[in-house]
Symmetry: C2
Subunit: 219 residues, 2 copies
C-alpha cells in the first residue's frame, strides 16, 4: 500500500502490469479496460476462491484502488458473472454446432471433444472459476448460467441417443453417458498445466480416443 503513494506522484495513467500494450497509448476502445480487470479478477478467483478474494485485493493486483472498480462494475458479483459467462457461452455458441455438422457422428464427436479440451487449455482461469464458484452467484444469475450448461448437456445426451439408434454408438443410458463424458472432459480443468507431460493437442487427441471408448464406438 506504500505503492499507492508512489503511483500518485508519477505515472497514474502509465505503468501497470495489466495489458501494457493497450494502456500506454491514448484512449482505448470502450470495454478494453473492463476486460483487463475481469481477467485480473478471474485469476485471483481461481487462486483463492470468490469469497477468499476481496475487492481491495483485486484492485491491488490491477494497481488501482478498490473504489475505482465501481466505475467499471456494479459490484463484486458482476466480476464473477463476467468471469464465468465466457466459458458457458462459448460452449453453446462454438461447440454445440459441431454436433450438427457434416461427417459421421464419431467424427463430429471428435471435433467436439477436441474443441472442448482445447478451450479448457486456453481459458484455464475462467474454467476453474466457472466450475467451482457458480453457487456464489445470486439465484437469478445462477439460473441464467445454468441454462447454458443444461443445454450443452442435453444436446450431447440427444446426440448420443441418436447415434446409438443409428448403430454408431452404444449408450444404453445416453443421459448418464453424457454426464460421465462431460465429467471426464472437464477433468483437465483441475489438473492440466501448460508445460506438463502432454501439451494441449496431445491431450485433446487422447481424450478423443477415451471419449469414443466411453460411448461404445469401436471404430
Amino acid at each position: 500500500m506504500a505503492g499507492a503513494e508512489a503511483d500518485r506522484g508519477g505515472s497514474i495513467t502509465g505503468v501497470t502490469d495489466v495489458g501494457p500494450e493497450v494502456l500506454g497509448r491514448g484512449p482505448t476502445r470502450a470495454g478494453t479496460r473492463r476486460a483487463e480487470l475481469v481477467a485480473v479478477a478471474t485469476r485471483l478467483f481461481r487462486e483463492r476462491g470468490y469469497h477468499g478474494v476481496g475487492m481491495r485485493a483485486i484492485a491491488e493486483a490491477a494497481h488501482i484502488q478498490a473504489a475505482s472498480l465501481y466505475h467499471h462494475f456494479a459490484g463484486k458479483e458482476e466480476l464473477l458473472l463476467e468471469s464465468i459467462y465466457v466459458v458457458d457461452r462459448d460452449l453453446v455458441v462454438d461447440q454445440l454446432p459441431l454436433l450438427e455438422g457434416s461427417g459421421t457422428r464419431p467424427e463430429r464427436l471428435q471435433e467436439l471433444v477436441e474443441g472442448h479440451v482445447r478451450h479448457i487449455g486456453t481459458n484455464r482461469d475462467a474454467w476453474w472459476v466457472a466450475g467451482r464458484e457458480l453457487r456464489a452467484l445470486s439465484p437469478e444469475r445462477f439460473d441464467e448460467v445454468q441454462v447454458y450448461r443444461r443445454r450443452y448437456q442435453h444436446a450431447i445426451a440427444e446426440f448420443l441417443a441418436a447415434g446409438t439408434a443409428a448403430g454408431e454408438f452404444d449408450c444404453p443410458d445416453p443421459r448418464l453417458s453424457a454426464l460421465a463424458l462431460l465429467d471426464m472432459l472437464n477433468g483437465p480443468n483441475e489438473w492440466y498445466e501448460p508445460g506438463g507431460r502432454l501439451d494441449i493437442d496431445e491431450l485433446a487427441a487422447r481424450y478423443v480416443d477415451l471419449a469414443l471408448r466411453l460411448v461404445g464406438c469401436c471404430a
Copy 2:
C-alpha cells in the same frame, strides 16, 4: 460404511438439527459432540463454501455460540481439515486394498468402482467439500491431504499399467487413463442426489460398465 455412521448415535451426514435434545442429556461419549459439529460444518461448507460460512453461522446451526466452537477445535481450519480427511483416508484405507485382492483385474476394478461411487453417495457433503475447498487449507495441511490423493491416483495408474501388460486392459497411457477414470468417477459428486432417477446401486453398476469401457476391457 453405513454401519460406521449408525453406531455413532448421531447424524454424521446430512441430518440438520443437532439440537436441544442432545444438550439436555447427560455427558455423551468423548468425541461424539466433536463429530456432530464437524457434520454441521461440513454441510454448511458444502452449501456456501468454506469462505462463505462464518464461525457464527456454524455455531448457530449447532445451536451454540461461536466462541464455544473453540472448546472443540483450535480454529476454523481444523473444522475444514476434519471435513476433508475422512474422504481421502477412506479412499486409501478402504478402497486401495481392493486392487490387491483376489479375482481378475476387471473384477477388482469393478469392486473399486462400486465402492468409490457408493462412498460418494453416502458421504456427499464431505466429498463436495473435499473436492472444492482443498486450497483453503494452509500449505502444510494441503500437502498432507494431497499425499493421500496422489497415492490413490498412482496406485490406479500402476494397476492399469499392469493390467495392460497382462492383456486384461488396453491403456496406452495408464497415467492419463487413471486421471480420466477418476474424474469420471468423481463426477457424481457434483450432481448425484438421492431420490433421483437412479439410486446409488444402479448408478454404481452403470459406472462399472463405463469404467471398463474406458480402460479398454471388452469383457
